[in-house]
């Protein structure tokens, strides 16, 4: 009995024993089976589509089966996938989104057991009236949702209050307060304001001298000048660039098993910081990040910017033979563009039409087609002649190496054979037998075993050399020496940017860190093609398809690039090929659509982000979700007014900061309370007082470094690795964490600390660092005991408290009064009040100054922006 038959015998026995129900006598195909198949199966496995490549219209096609094997094994229900999936023996349960009645399952089982008699071809009952999913459009009324409507032209309300009508933002807010019966807070004191502005715009507390200067500056435009000055500091980009890096899910490592280092990822981080510092208009920022490689003239910055799309966490397997991962990377890009730029959860439409928002699945796959051509490339950051020269020099060395390597291999071959034979003889008997049995006489099992052993047994030079004749040994060493010399002749590498461009992923060269598919060689549909297009013929993107249920084996029609329909108000090209024809121009078209003046979402979403970071809560609280499941805007008119203003100001973010911060609303006190307000709007949705905000993880660390006088202001460049406890390093799976001493080299701003996907920096993690693998606009804020433990006991904090004490001592001299005064100014930007002075001096009478500074770093006031 063959194993196969044996297996079936057992299975049948198991089925009989399993008491799966009594036999249905006399099942009729026409009467019992056909209606079930036609009504419940053919919708997805019939004429319109064959999900899983399965067609159930004829017996032949059912027996032939689909991607997962035959659906029907006549005479054997247990082996028939048709039965297994409807009976729940295998997942997913079929039919999708429903369940057959027990009697129907029994009918199918008995019919299969009876040999599955069949007559004729089946036809799907109930013709579908809906358009096919690939063609699905949206209803006109879908555009009625507030965020899909065009930006309204809006004039600020006239409240008849000169003070509050002067600034448009104030006019809008004031009108709401009046409408809601809310009293607004008074203006915060100037000391609070200068600290607020510093922390908000630069992420650093103000130096005492700057506070004093501002307090002394009674000119009417002192506040505006302060804002201008802070917007012009490079620390602004480090602070606000970090907000965007959250959206861009930026990290310095791959994630997943190997968590490989991304040695050039930091260039993208620096690009973002610099772009914010230059006030690169937001539309340009988006164009560069989405299609920088297609823009003219080419520039390093634009190539680096394309790293935005490549910031996804990446599995180490090559996409060309593991296409499933590519779909996940694209999903991540679509999620990032959707939530990050459009404020829409487009990624929900991967498997079905969006459940809440008017986003048909078609839109998802249109976006996917717009991005589909992308391939990962390391753009050389050198003028073309230099890059070409580098490539040529590398090729020349390779050309010289090739014959030498071949010669070496020839020479080594007989010795390698000897070494391997010796190794074979060290295996247990059954393995030796398999290996030494002549190939044609091996049993099928021995073929497999021998194959495994032979393929994985190698011979190293140190194993071969002792066996060599003196002449061969000398020849081998001479060859090896020549190879070593040539190896050193490779040109010095030129810097590269981690980015993307268009190409054909199916021909990706094998790169470092790539692994072939588990147990597979390269699998691809196309036999001919090239990784990158040289422009001699126009680039053509590889085909992409609509995927039913998001299943890569359930292809629908090929997809054309396109956009989210509900946010499209004019006919726009979906492809704008550049003159060099090396790319498709689909991403350029996508970027153009995103930043089109009639796109209702892009400006609103970005203005709202900026508002959120200034005021602590967005006009729309759900920054990444402007859809029906998001929060409604508290001030829709204001949002529209600001969005128009943003467009009219040429998408300038710095102008937006200036506009928002120059409002009176921004300057309100945060400590104000009013019993009636608490009744009407306890959550302060209408901004009647300023919202105090816990500093973000990076700002807590940067503020500690800054007040201690430790902060190394160097900008940009490769990331730094502050020390980690040994125990934490042990929890790390793979990848890198370089050992750098705790000192000025690592006392850089937190935006430069290595972002390792597999190991978030503990200090940041404890202060609510968001998951680094998904786009994030709004961070969580929690208050947990481990934060207190960190600020109380962490060696870094204690050391910096000591440095702050030393600084105070040096700047204030020996008098405790002067020390207390200076410590307060440095840490909090103000003098101590009488009660604080008394408590502090009494403390200093018995305790060291470093104790006082340590306490200051732990104060609520220190870790809150208010």
């Amino acid at each position: 009995m063959s194993i196969r038959a044996k297996t079936h015998g057992l299975l049948l026995a198991a089925a009989t024993m399993g008491a799966l129900g009594a036999q249905t006598p006399g099942v009729s195909f026409e009467r019992d089976v056909k209606p079930v198949l036609e009504a419940r199966c053919l919708k997805c496995h019939g004429v319109k589509m064959q999900l899983g490549k399965l067609d159930l219209r004829t017996r032949e096609s059912a027996v032939a089966g689909g991607a997962h094997g035959p659906a029907l094994v006549p005479g054997d229900a247990q082996a028939s996938r048709l039965y297994r999936h409807v009976a729940g023996l295998e997942k997913p349960l079929m039919p999708m989104g429903g369940k057959l009645a027990a009697s129907e399952v029994a009918v199918l089982r008995d019919w299969l057991a009876q040999g599955a008699p069949w007559s004729g071809a089946l036809a799907e009952v109930e013709a579908r009236k809906e358009p096919e999913p690939e063609d699905r459009t949206i209803a006109p009324e879908a555009r009625q949702w507030w965020s899909f409507r065009p930006l309204r032209r809006q004039e600020p309300p006239k409240n008849g209050d000169a003070q509050w009508d002067a600034h448009p933002v104030d006019a809008f807010l004031f009108a709401k307060w009046r409408e809601q019966g809310l009293r607004h807070a008074p203006e915060a004191d100037r000391g609070t304001l200068v600290r607020r502005a510093y922390l908000d715009l630069t992420g650093l507390p103000p130096p005492p001298e700057q506070v004093r200067e501002f307090l002394a500056d009674r000119a009417p435009d002192a506040w505006e000048r302060l804002i201008d000055r802070l917007l012009a500091t490079p620390q602004y980009g480090e602070r606000w660039g970090r907000h965007w890096l959250d959206v861009a899910r930026y990290a310095d490592s791959n994630g997943y098993e190997h968590d490989f280092d991304r040695p050039n990822a930091w260039r993208y981080r620096d690009y973002v910081i610099e772009a914010f510092n230059r006030d690169t208009p937001y539309d340009v920022l988006l164009r560069e990040q989405i299609a920088g490689d297609e823009m003219e003239p080419a520039s390093n910055a634009r190539l680096i910017a394309t790293g935005f799309l490549r910031n996804y966490a990446k599995v180490g397997f090559r996409e060309k033979d593991n296409p499933q991962f590519r779909f996940d990377y694209l999903d991540d890009m679509i999620a990032t563009l959707g939530r990050g730029v459009l404020g829409l959860t487009v990624q929900c439409a991967r498997c079905h039409d969006h459940k809440f928002d008017p986003i048909p699945q078609r839109d998802y796959y249109a976006l996917q087609a717009s991005l589909w051509g992308y391939v990962e490339v390391d753009h050389p950051l050198a003028p073309k002649p230099e890059a070409d020269a580098y490539a040529a020099a590398m090729a020349a060395v390779e050309a010289k190496l090739k014959p030498l390597r071949e010669e070496l291999q020839m020479l080594e071959a007989p010795y390698a054979r000897q070494v391997r034979e010796k190794k074979y003889r060290a295996w247990p008997k059954h393995i030796q037998e398999a290996v030494f049995t002549p190939e044609e006489k091996r049993t099928p099992g021995q073929v497999l075993l021998a194959n495994q052993i032979i393929r994985t047994t190698g011979a190293s030079p140190s194993e071969m050399e002792p066996l060599m004749t003196p002449a061969d040994l000398a020849a081998r060493r001479a060859l090896a020496a020549r190879i070593a010399v040539l190896d050193k002749q490779r040109p010095a590498p030129i810097p590269v940017a981690m980015g993307i461009t268009d190409g054909d992923y199916r021909f990706t060269p094998d790169g470092a860190g790539d692994e072939p598919a588990p147990g597979k060689g390269v699998q691809r549909e196309a036999v001919e093609g090239a990784f990158l297009c040289d422009g001699t013929r126009p680039y053509e993107a590889p085909p992409s398809y609509f995927l039913h249920h998001g299943d890569m084996d359930s292809r629908g029609r090929p997809m054309r690039p396109g956009f989210v329909q509900v946010a499209t108000y004019s006919e726009m090209p979906v492809e704008m090929p550049p003159p060099h024809h090396r790319t498709s121009g689909r991403r350029t078209a996508l970027a153009n659509w995103l930043v089109a003046r009639d796109n209702p979402l892009t400006a609103r979403v970005m203005v709202n982000r900026i508002w959120h970071h200034h005021f602590g809560r967005g006009i729309v609280a759900t920054l990444d979700n402007f859809g029906k499941t998001g929060e409604p805007p508290t001030h829709p008119e204001l949002l529209d007014w600001l969005s128009r203003r943003f467009l009219d100001d040429g998408w300038s973010m710095k102008r937006m900061h200036k506009l928002l911060m120059s409002s009176r609303a921004y300057r309100l006190a945060s400590g104000f309370s009013d019993p009636e307000n608490e009744q009407r709007d306890a959550a302060n949705l209408f901004g009647w007082r300023f919202r105090a905000q816990r500093l973000e993880a990076e700002v807590v660390r940067d503020a500690i470094l800054a007040v201690a006088g430790s902060l190394n202001p160097a900008m940009g460049g490769p990331p730094v690795f502050p020390p980690l406890p040994e125990e934490t390093l042990k929890s790390m799976d793979k990848g890198i964490w370089r050992r750098q001493p705790d000192g000025p080299e690592t006392w850089r701003r937190s935006v430069y600390v290595y972002r390792k996907r597999g190991l978030p920096f503990p200090f940041f993690e404890v202060f609510d660092l968001p998951d680094q693998n998904i786009t994030c606009g709004r961070r969580n804020v929690s208050t947990v005991p481990t934060q207190a433990l960190t600020l109380l006991h962490n060696e870094f904090v204690i050391a910096q408290a000591g440095r702050l004490a030393a600084r105070v001592m040096a700047e204030a001299g020996p008098s405790p009064e002067a020390q207390l005064e200076r410590a307060y100014w440095l840490a909090l930007g103000r003098p101590p009040e009488a009660g604080e002075r008394a408590a502090g001096l009494s403390f200093l009478a018995s305790q060291p100054l470093a104790g006082l500074t340590h306490v200051l770093l732990n104060l609520n006031e220190f870790v809150y922006l208010r």
Partner: protein, 482 residues
């Protein structure tokens, strides 16, 4: 949740906290002066993000201890005997289609190098690798038909941890903590203790809170020394110095709160220092294994260098559960050297599994015995799992490659009927065949035993009510039946 601004929900929930509590505690007769026992027995009423919450229905278990064998345990060599492997040894695996292995190419069928014995009244077969766990056969429900979605270590770890192979989703422990809070506010609710040789595949992402607030992530307890990072001040700072600092901090923060009465977060933050202080006192006590009797230490194998390492982890787990910690995640197998320090038996399944089973058998049996003796087993769910099973075919004659198509997992405690097997893999153990159990099903079952309906435990994120089980998951009926 009823909070207008969800991300700031934690302490505001308690509301109306004042600085009075800490001030009192810091007084001469208060917390600072109290002994450990009275500090740790006293659970503060509010201020913690982990206040106990009501389950959906009466729970069978209050806590979970998850024993995760990192690297991939071979089911055919442990809890799923396959006599057919003897009969067809050396022949190819008779299946249609491609046999996908993780490394290289498929080999021929390989019998288990281990014999199986029937144990207990149930006669549950357990391999000779686990004589001591085998003695608990009548307490184990072995699920032989669990399937995973990835044959990659890390992605498979993530799936078991969070239900998805992708990074960024909250782990089971986070969901449980989110759903139920903790019985003890002086300790973290979700504790992870990994192998002293190193963390599991995939590292800290295994206990990440994903898109939930970071408060719900697992807290790593180290197996020796201070259990929590930064739990105690460095030795250079004396006790009296720290007290003086805490007193000044409290005074200054209280003055600040008086100036800013509107901001309840400030009170919450003051309260978090009190909790931190309690944790500092209570966490070392919770893992003070030296307080255990010699008999208990021996029960867990602490007297033996082979079993001592995992024994310490298991004993810590019992002490933590005893103190009301909700979810304890243990890992055996650490990434010092993947082939020798984890269950990843590519090279030689006999050597690898003999070594690793010997390290965990006594401690796990000791844990079950001890939980039973203390009356804790009925309210504690113990889950033994790995990221995938292994192949019935050999890798280079002696090893076995990864196989997510079938794995065996057992559960004990929580009044689960022991001595039963659930589901079945095929004749060779290549694929799960009868009553296929997905990871979503496992998660649904764990939540069920804790009194939660997996379809109702949701967290609003990005416009969706997210679930641990996505849109899938069915409770395993044999486990649910008490």
């Amino acid at each position: 949740m009823a909070f207008t601004d969800r991300r700031r929900f934690l302490f505001e929930a308690g509301g109306g906290l004042s600085g009075v509590a800490l001030a009192c505690l810091l007084s001469e007769r208060g917390l600072l002066a109290a002994d450990d026992a009275s500090v740790c027995a006293n659970t503060p009423a509010d201020g913690s993000p982990f206040l106990p919450k009501q389950p959906h229905f009466a729970p069978r278990a209050k806590a979970v201890i998850s024993l995760f064998m990192s690297g991939g345990v071979s089911h055919m060599d442990t809890f799923d005997p396959k006599p057919a492997l003897e009969r067809y040894a050396g022949q190819p695996l008779p299946v249609k289609g491609e046999v996908v292995v993780r490394q290289g190419h498929p080999g021929p069928l390989m019998p288990s190098p281990f014999s199986f014995q029937r144990h207990g009244q149930s006669g549950l077969p357990v391999s000779e690798l686990f004589p001591c766990v085998g003695a608990h056969a009548d307490e184990l429900a072995v699920i032989r038909s669990v399937v995973g979605r990835s044959n990659d270590h890390v992605m498979a770890h993530y799936e078991l941890a969070s239900g998805t192979v992708r990074m960024g989703a909250p782990s089971v422990g986070s969901w449980v903590t989110y759903g139920l809070g903790s019985e003890n506010q002086n300790l973290p609710a979700f504790v992870v203790v990994y192998d002293a040789r190193g963390g599991p595949f995939g590292g800290p992402s295994n206990w990440s809170a994903g898109y939930m607030p970071a408060a719900f992530q697992g807290t790593v307890f180290r197996a020796s020394g201070d259990p929590i990072l930064d739990l105690r001040p460095p030795p250079s700072l004396g006790e009296e110095q720290m007290r003086a600092r805490l007193r000044l901090l409290e005074t200054l923060n209280r003055r600040d709160s008086e100036r800013n009465p509107a901001n309840s977060e400030l009170a919450a933050r003051i309260s978090s220092y009190e909790l931190a202080y309690r944790m500092q006192r209570c966490a070392p006590q919770a893992v003070a294994l030296e307080n255990e009797s010699p008999a208990v230490k021996k029960l867990y194998g602490l007297d033996n260098p082979v079993t001592g390492r995992f024994g310490r982890q298991c004993l810590m787990a019992r002490r933590l559960v005893e103190r009301g910690v909700r979810f304890v995640q243990l890992y055996h197998g650490g990434l010092g050297n993947q082939n020798t320090d984890t269950w990843d038996a590519h090279g030689n399944v006999k050597e690898n599994h003999t070594q690793h089973a010997a390290e965990v058998d006594v401690p796990m049996a000791g844990l079950l015995t001890d939980l039973r003796a203390r009356g804790l087993l009925d309210e504690t769910l113990v889950v033994w799992q790995s990221e995938f099973g292994r192949m019935p075919i050999s890798q280079r004659g002696l090893g076995r490659d990864h196989n997510p198509g079938a794995m065996s997992i057992w559960m004990a405690g929580a009044r689960i009927r022991g001595g039963q097997t659930i589901g079945a893999s095929d004749e060779f153990g290549y694929k799960a065949e009868q009553q296929i159990v997905t990871v979503h099903d496992l998660h649904a079952t764990i939540l069920h035993l804790l009194g939660m309906d997996h379809t109702r435990l949701t967290y609003a994120y990005q416009g969706r009510r997210m679930r641990l089980t996505d849109v899938y998951g069915e409770v395993i009926p044999q486990i649910a039946a008490a």
